[in-house]
Symmetry: C2
């Protein structure tokens, strides 16, 4: 395939995509960008991805895909086994909704550039940033826990016993939460699913501390 | 179908979904929730959607779908004509990436509950809130404009001449921007696409000012 993954070890969206590539059994070259040093804001990176974000997936022909959730859907269409979405429309709607609860309600509020803006423009100190981060996790993790705990469709993973799109997002977000010591006691189902995923090789290999730039 | 749309006229995610339902030619009962009055935080609403968010789409059998982007994908699978995503995987990856630039990078930062938190916890006044809103629009609309203007795949709409998933997000976000008087002069391609969409009956019918609760 000749895939090149432009990413960063601690980036939650990068973690999602790494786990997806691993689940699909796809090899990739790993290129790291230290976000804090502005390494995704260089002219050469912006020429590849004008948004200046990771991850970006470069294919053998030089073409580039962006936005982790879009890349994961593409991967699932082009490399259908093992599937990351259920076969039925109802199941896909459930899995996508769970994934987007994290992808559209938690992660966008808690990434590095947002925390940076709060510090610079609102003078938020570490305690205020921790409060912000924790608040947005809580606001979504509470209903996420409720939905997962209540549904007979929840298995070892978010939907049955095989990992998929929602699990990719959950796994990456729980890693992200650890940076702010989020107490997982209130979210036993999420914690159980995370522990299950964290024992799978595809997820282990995608975990932030196991990346080459995690020094 | 007996669809019930639980939503709010000014909610950007609601606007997206209304336009999608209209494009598919689906009728729905309109139920409005005044977000500022906490009408999505009542026990009965939370029983239906524990996240306490709009939109939610209730089906005839009482089952409920949540998360606008998940609902739109479901609509496109169950009611495939007219399609909201291209037929090819490359095209779908492009359209989803454009949609998620708005759905995952702009809208989550600029919705009502986030602005409320900034006011309450950081003492942000109207000027600071306008600065925040404008900043996150700009950070994504600049690369979005670049990507749309540079691609031969951009047509009257984001991808060719027929409206799809990315257009639904773009349309709703530009409506949202108007609340903060975002100057669209820097985004001529986005503005052109918005104007095209705004002349289509399915979008006109979905526009915030044309809803029953827009009084």
């Amino acid at each position: 395939m000749g895939l090149v993954l432009h990413n960063f070890f601690r980036s939650s969206t990068s973690t999602r995509l790494r786990a997806a590539l691993n689940l699909k059994g796809l090899e990739y070259d790993y290129v790291s960008y230290a976000l804090r040093n502005g390494e995704t804001r260089t002219p050469s990176y912006l020429a590849m991805n004008p948004a200046g974000l990771v991850p970006a997936l470069e294919r053998e022909d030089g073409s580039v895909l962006t936005q982790s959730l879009a890349i994961i859907e593409w991967l699932d269409e082009v490399h259908p086994a093992p599937p990351l979405l259920p076969a039925d429309a109802e199941g896909r709607a459930r899995v996508r909704a769970l994934a987007y609860m994290i992808g559209c309600e938690v992660h966008p509020l808690n990434n590095l550039r947002v925390l940076g803006y709060l510090g610079q423009q609102f003078g938020a100190d570490d305690a205020a940033l921790a409060g912000w981060f924790t608040h947005w996790v809580q606001v979504t993790f509470e209903p996420l826990e409720t939905l997962l705990a209540a549904s007979p469709e929840t298995g070892a993973c978010c939907h049955g016993d095989l990992p998929g799109l929602a699990d990719l997002c959950l796994y990456a977000q729980v890693w992200n939460n650890r940076r702010f010591d989020i107490d997982m006691a209130a979210y036993p189902t999420i914690a159980r699913i995370f522990a299950h995923l964290d024992a799978l090789p595809a997820f282990q290999k995608a975990a932030p501390p196991n990346q080459p730039d995690a020094a």
